[in-house]
């Protein structure tokens, strides 16, 4: 209990407390209470805050959608035994076991617009060089690509565990009734897998929402020259560690916290309705 209070309640309470102050420079420096000013500043800020909210959503939803589809495909592939399956499993899992910062550094080198490997490969097949991480338009899609590359294996593992736990009987019954592979997947396997898929979505969504290492390693403070990769997390980090605006940063984090709570609540609400 004391552990919970110390590690969760105190930092949360302190962050809420700071969010109502104009703390700047150092939290040891004197500061004043400013009521909801920081919240008003954040919620009316259309140049940094709201674009960051939008990018956080695009990144999370975009990455999650691709990861679910690809993860399901890989799980289905690995479900039934086949020759060389052990090797395939190892290769598929590799990106997931590497350190995120190392992965980000690696992709930064690969995607370097002038001396990177990606553009060399494109050159061999006659496609002009792409800006990848260096243009405001292509940065977010490229980052989503790296996230998908890294975390699809995690979704695949969770889904594979679910598939392996399924009973074979419904599938066999459908087969006897003459259902083809797609029909069996869509009408039998997928509905049975729904709880597992929801768990996978929850786990990955929380993780994707708070992505920091990949974005910061690739684009640095502020998410690049045009803030093109600035999600709420990066924005809050920039506000606190670069701008030293602890009050405003705390308010942004509390708003972020409320958004996470809200989305989790919506997800579970949906799940409860379905189980009814």
């Amino acid at each position: 209990m004391i552990f919970t209070i110390l590690l969760i309640a105190f930092p949360l309470g302190w962050t809420i407390y700071l969010s109502f102050t104009d703390s700047f420079g150092s939290v040891r420096a004197p500061f004043d209470f400013v009521g909801f000013d920081n919240y008003v500043t954040a919620l009316t800020d259309t140049s940094r805050f709201w674009p960051a909210v939008l990018r956080t959503l695009i990144f999370t939803v975009g990455a999650l959608a691709f990861e679910l589809v690809a993860g399901m495909a890989i799980a289905l592939l690995l479900w039934r035994p086949f020759k060389g399956q052990a090797w395939v499993r190892v290769v598929v899992l590799l990106p997931f076991v590497a350190t995120p910062v190392a992965i980000a550094m690696m992709w930064r080198l690969i995607f370097d617009p002038n001396i990177g490997f990606a553009n060399q490969v494109l050159g061999w097949i006659g496609i002009p060089p792409q800006p990848w991480f260096s243009s405001p338009e292509t940065t977010l899609p490229s980052l989503i690509f790296v996230d998908v590359w890294e975390f699809t294996p995690m979704i695949a593992i969770v889904l594979l565990a679910g598939l392996t736990a399924l009973s074979d009987e419904p599938d066999e019954a459908a087969r006897i009734d003459g259902a083809n592979a797609w029909q069996r997947f869509w009408l039998v396997t997928l509905p049975l897998m729904r709880p597992v898929v929801l768990v996978a979505i929850m786990l990955r969504a929380i993780d994707a929402l708070k992505t920091f290492d990949l974005l910061y390693t690739v684009k640095g403070q502020g998410g690049g020259s045009f803030h093109e990769a600035e999600t709420l997390n990066i924005y809050a980090y920039t506000l606190s560690f670069q701008y030293n605006s602890f009050g405003l940063a705390s308010a942004v984090l509390i708003l972020f916290f409320l958004m996470v709570l809200l989305s989790m609540w919506l997800l579970t609400l949906r799940r409860k309705e379905r189980t009814k």
Partner: protein
Amino acid sequence: MRIAAVATATLLTAGMVSACSSGGGGDKAESTTLNVTLANHVWTDSLKKRIPDFEKETGLKVVVNQLSEDQLADSYKVKLNAGSADVDVMMYRPLQVGKLFAASHYFVDLTKHVSDDATWNWSDFQPGPVSITTYQDKVVGVPIVTENEILYYRKDLLQKAGLSVPTTMDELQAAAKKIKEQNPGVAGFVSRTQASAGVTQFSGFLYSFGGDWMDADGTSTVGTDAAKKAYAYYGGLLRDYGPAQVNTDMSWPEAMALFQQGKAAFETDASSLYDNLANPEKSKVSDQVGYAAFPAGPAGSKPYNVAAWALGINSASKNQDNAWKFIKWATSPEMTLALQEEGNSGARTSVWENPAATAKFPAELVKAIAENGKNGIGYDRPLVLSVAQAREIVGAPFVAAITGGDSNAAADKANTEFQSLLDSEKK
């Protein structure tokens, strides 16, 4: 409840701004263990080898905590904010955090310490760097590494184009153009392009075009005609004669990588980084690198000439006397000479006057540094409390110019934003 717990954990890991509870601080008064926090830097590598000598001499045990630049800044902000005593000696960037840290009372006042010992000789330190480690007439740090902005060039490419080393902005532009046209795949000019990281390298151009960040009254001057010309020139140089793929994310490692790979003819960056280009293990073109003083603009040649790093003492340290012993040892005339002989530009005048100190530097580089020293400006970014925020604002116009946008309009916008930042700090 479970969701609440998960979400709480999310918030905590997401970036706890404030949960910087005291990190230890169990030092007893004047402990014999000295905690020294240093940045990853060639100076650190040179000094670390010698720390056993200091330990033998004093009987103290030195624990070195070494971090990258960004990690170092974050670690200080967390630890010093919390009043932690587990940092005694701190290596810091005076231009970036000096004012903020001094205003937050994170530093011990060293004024008495520095003037106490005539043989250690504080007056030997160059005035520019000293002005940056002094806050409200109190000395808060001792400068250790200095640097200024020089022009790196490729001797072979210049020779092939039949050109001499550019001494003015116009010549630099013409040479970059000619070399890029002559050598497909080679950029005429590279430098930092990222809005924040590029500010320091843009500063030399700004000053040489007659501009500055603000005037003596603290009014923003990034919207003046001189500043607009500098923004357009720097951005245009990179847009027209830079690498084939315009990239607005380049800090020094990315820009230097192009030069190292033989894909650039000119680069302007800090003199302290020369080893990255001159060392055959790092650079494919090490035998062709030339060094020149910063080219002159309409207002002359005005590169920055600054103290990049300094040593200070944490005001919460319980080991301040020993910390000072360490700083005195690390910045003594003998040590500065020894470190400079290994290629670290120090801040002591006497050492720069000693031929032994510069024997290992390329002769042309020493000449360029000396030339820059004559006209150098003592800061390379706006000296405000919120330096990081200011850098993003004043860097935006050259990013606009690099990407072909309207840099004049961007300069006007930056001027308004920078002015409101300056006003907010006056309160």
